[in-house]
Symmetry: C2
Amino acid sequence: MGNKVTDLGEVKLIERIERSLGCSSEVILGIGDDAAIIKHTKNKHLLFCSDMLIEDVHFSRKNASASQIGKKALAVNISDIAAMGGVPRFCVVSLGLPKNTTVNFIDKFYKGLNNLAKKFNVFIVGGDTNRSNKLIVDVALIGEVNKRNVVKRKGARDGDVVFVTGRLGGSASKKHLDFLPRIKESKLLVKNFRINSMIDISDGLAIDLCRILKASAVGALIYEELIPLSKGVKSVKNALYDGEDFELLFTMSAREADKLIKNKRKLFGVNISKIGYIRKERQVLCLIDKKGREEIIKKKGFSHF
Amino acid sequence: MGNKVTDLGEVKLIERIERSLGCSSEVILGIGDDAAIIKHTKNKHLLFCSDMLIEDVHFSRKNASASQIGKKALAVNISDIAAMGGVPRFCVVSLGLPKNTTVNFIDKFYKGLNNLAKKFNVFIVGGDTNRSNKLIVDVALIGEVNKRNVVKRKGARDGDVVFVTGRLGGSASKKHLDFLPRIKESKLLVKNFRINSMIDISDGLAIDLCRILKASAVGALIYEELIPLSKGVKSVKNALYDGEDFELLFTMSAREADKLIKNKRKLFGVNISKIGYIRKERQVLCLIDKKGREEIIKKKGFSHF
């Protein structure tokens, strides 16, 4: 066992934290998915998640405007709620602000945040402001989900078809600062189809699909030629490893998949692409390249440690 | 209007943020109290709050152990829930970790956090881990409160008696790293008495009492000789201005106050002290010193900007 978190790695670090925690009959799902699931009313569960953005780690003030930072801090959380099949409701915003932060910066930051909040019917109900060297934004978000609609990472089954919304690999061209979380698409998916597993792509198609595979104890086969690339993106590697696409990655039975493929143009305003299949036999992710060669994809992608 | 947040000050900054936000019939109380109040079930409201701790702003690793930092990050939030008359339930923990953080540090941090969580029946259900230069901990906490028991800063009335739990001014002697949030005392108070207003003392008796006065549009008269000082604290200034005592400061009618004074030894394990009165006529905080002289107390106390 390494002595530093950098030796341990992010995945093992989170597993280590998880093992130390208690459990409760009211907590349906704790650490380890896009959001926690908590018992709420007869028909609804609460969802609960948080995401921290740190200057010069997640963004730089040179490349991102105040409004974009405010927007992104909430958007990454809304994307987590979408991945569970829910809708976002209430958030708190903790800020660390450098001394030289201008009032104009704060106004624009909240303009970006509030505009997105209004668009998705989220209410900002509190928070905390602090002095800090770097700009830090932590948003914690409460969502709701109909019991029948809740989707986890765990649940992918042998023979499931793997789908992804939108196009991937556009993070390098700043798409990650201006994406719209896929709430509308998630709502349509859980309302009209039976989704077996879902995640939002935050760290790259490879690592996030591997998260579904690990949680579901299955493997997958995906086809390079089926992976939808963003405009200007030439290599499938950007889709596999770049992260921050914030598209939905999900699996459903072959029967449901047929229904989706028949109805997707009518129902959805965005691209929905079939990219491969879940396979039970080997718990690995295989990519079939354009020449038909099979390659086992490592779980690499963005990791903080 | 100043151009920097340092010119604006923390109070005006929060007011500015507040004005920019939308509102909802489900949000009973948004920004501006210890926690937000959200409609939940027939008899209960949800409470929602967050607090960020930043290395070298709120603590230094020289003076605070990993376990103390973990404990404090949750404790300050539980204290906010206590101040609303509620009980804490579920939290998420966002971390910013320097590269050289040891696994041992993480284990001890979570040991401190988990021990406190278990003591107060809080479940840690999720979070986020990130790389960062300084250690950053943001905890967001969901609590619950019986509708009948909810207490706000707003509600202090002319003639109310002002009380405080425990002893004040002990922050300099590291009490702020090892305090127990006053959930038990808050429960007993809201169960047995009608509390008109309440806050937890995070930034000093002066500034936090002024928050009650401002929210309630009243003034107060407090007596130096009635303010209970922590062991070793010699000046009332430590109680007034130091902050981080995390005791409960509350007001109740003279009639309820009599009931409390008669029963406090029987009901409570900690000191509860009457320190003064709410007065309607002047919306200021007056301190009567030991020689009977009246002094108007400025709202000074710990401010981040």
